[in-house]
């Protein structure tokens, strides 16, 4: 392993904003700040200790000003929902290189209540405005649905396969008091739900919520003196395949193939050694395609991988143990929550909560997807 990162940096604090779900009395920047405060408190740190700031959606300038942080290192990589997973890798690099000592990654979105959000201009002279917008593709659902149609035609993936992912994820959500939807779900429920953009039913689609999330990292050496059990960054990877869905190279495989290989190789870990996987689930197909790209199963075998509750509570390979974007929360760029939940599982935070805790969890993959299957960030985390 020729790198200076693996195993040297730890996650020492993770948190959501005070409330997640429907939070009509908080602006975007408030959600960032609440989550930041909560994650730092968990580690026994304050904003005074932070010298590295990483964020997307809101700029590092605004976040630093709001929190009173004067950073020595900053990163505003904004490539959609994968951004915050990519930031974990960047923070690990910065700390390992001695460029900052305490890195704070913040996220916050008022996806549902729309308090304090900026606009998304779609100029008619942009690439998307000229070559995609005139054809009425619902965004982002239609882009993912269109990609899924190819996987179904090529590999025989079915609506039942997709529905099983939503059902298994709901199983985990039923164990999480913070999850927005906790009632049991059946495959029939998913298939009977309203068709949004064929082949996706309503229950193939993620929630739209308000939420913030934050992550604090420092060197493993310093982490040993802090309040939480350290969770170590073992590997990281990132990539981009396209921006516009019409330019995706292969509708059945995306940038997770690159980011995943980089992360697994750096960590020296094989997919079959993992105890759990936290995989971005904007839509059921997002999880299925990503599982194949990460090598959790072979290309085309995603349907079988998720079949019969194999990834549900009590199943052989736990996936999305917080209830995911499909049932727990999804404010728009969900990636930060894959890291938060992986960290809690690896710290054994749920050990008094029965099957919610993945037994003896030592190794996890957290994966973020951004844009329309466009960008990817993968992190391999281990219990120190």
């Amino acid at each position: 392993m020729a790198n200076n990162i693996a195993g040297k940096v730890a996650i020492v604090g993770v948190a959501e904003s005070d409330q997640i779900g429907i939070v009509p009395d908080r602006s975007v920047i408030q959600l960032h700040a609440e989550a930041a405060h909560n994650a730092l408190s968990e580690a026994g740190l304050t904003t005074r200790d932070v010298d590295g700031i990483f964020t997307a959606g809101v700029s590092p300038m605004e976040t630093a000003e709001y929190l009173g942080i004067v950073p020595k290192f900053m990163d505003g990589t904004a490539v959609g929902g994968s951004s915050f997973v990519i930031h974990v890798g960047h923070a690990a690099m910065a700390i390992a290189a001695g460029l900052c000592s305490v890195a704070l990654i913040t996220h916050g979105e008022s996806g549902r209540s729309r308090i304090g959000i900026g606009g998304f201009p779609q100029g008619a002279q942009t690439i998307r405005g000229q070559f995609e917008a005139p054809f009425g593709l619902p965004s982002p659902v239609g882009a993912y649905a269109m990609a899924c149609s190819r996987h179904m035609a090529q590999y025989g993936t079915t609506s039942e396969h997709l529905a099983q992912i939503a059902v298994s994820t709901r199983g985990w959500a039923s164990l999480n008091p913070k999850a927005m939807y906790r009632d049991p779900l059946t495959i029939e429920d998913v298939l009977k739900s309203r068709m949004i953009s064929w082949p996706f039913h309503l229950l193939d689609c993620c929630l739209v919520t308000d939420a913030g999330g934050a992550i604090v990292l420092t060197s493993l050496e310093r982490a040993r003196d802090l309040k939480t059990h350290p969770v170590v960054v073992l590997g990281r990877g990132e990539s981009i395949d396209h921006s516009n869905i019409s330019q995706m190279h292969d509708f059945t495989s995306g940038p997770a193939k690159v980011s995943g290989k980089l992360a697994f190789d750096m960590a020296g870990v094989r997919p079959d050694e993992l105890d759990l996987a936290m995989i971005y689930d904007s839509f059921t197909y997002t999880v299925l395609m990503t599982a194949e790209d990460l090598g959790l199963c072979k290309p085309g075998e995603g349907g079988a991988f998720f079949a019969k509750g194999r990834t549900a509570p009590g199943g052989v390979f736990p996936v999305n143990t917080n209830g995911g974007g499909l049932s727990y929360t999804h404010p728009g760029m969900y990636g930060v929550f894959t890291i938060i939940e992986s960290t809690r599982q690896l710290r054994h935070d749920y050990q008094d909560q029965g099957i919610r805790q993945v037994k003896d969890a030592k190794l996890a993959v957290a994966h973020g997807t951004g844009g329309v299957l466009s960008s990817a960030g993968t992190v391999i985390l281990g219990r120190a």
Binding site: A124, F135, M146, S149, A153, W198
Partner: protein, 139 residues
């Protein structure tokens, strides 16, 4: 045509040749003089080999359905299209290689009738006096 309310492209100096060719019902795309690949959307640099040796060439207008979705109802991101639902948005792979976002027309928006891989041909839709869109229909 004057009451067309859906998003329309605003051609730029480079892409104007493409939009003019669609308006003339004779689509042209850039072809790379070095790697010989056709390119879509139009660009300043070949995305396959990095060359700037690009020239406009006519294409057949024939291809295959690479993937599709059917917008079933009212979605906030496509409000101007709501009256058309259900309608088919498709990616078509031209015989010359590039893939285009388009609408599939001339067929029921029924997933049991539309097949990934089916043969399609261009159908020019003159949506306004200035702009035509290249849509596709089954052969």
């Amino acid at each position: 045509m004057a009451d067309y309310t859906k998003p329309l492209p605003m051609p730029d100096p480079l892409t104007k040749t493409f939009w003019d060719s669609v308006k003339a019902h004779a689509m042209q795309l850039q072809k790379c003089g070095d790697c010989q690949k056709f390119i879509y959307y139009p660009r300043a640099v070949c995305p396959y080999c990095g060359s700037r040796n690009l020239a406009w060439k006519p294409v057949s207008g024939r291809g295959k359905l690479y993937g599709f979705t059917i917008n079933m109802g009212k979605h906030p991101s496509t409000a101007p299209f709501s009256a058309d639902a259900p309608y088919v948005i498709a990616l078509v792979e031209l015989d010359e290689g590039p893939r285009l976002m388009t609408n599939l027309v001339g067929i029921d928006p029924d997933p049991t009738k539309i097949k990934v891989g089916m043969d399609v041909v261009v159908h020019y839709d003159d949506v306004t006096e200035q702009i035509s869109l290249a849509k596709f229909k089954p052969v």
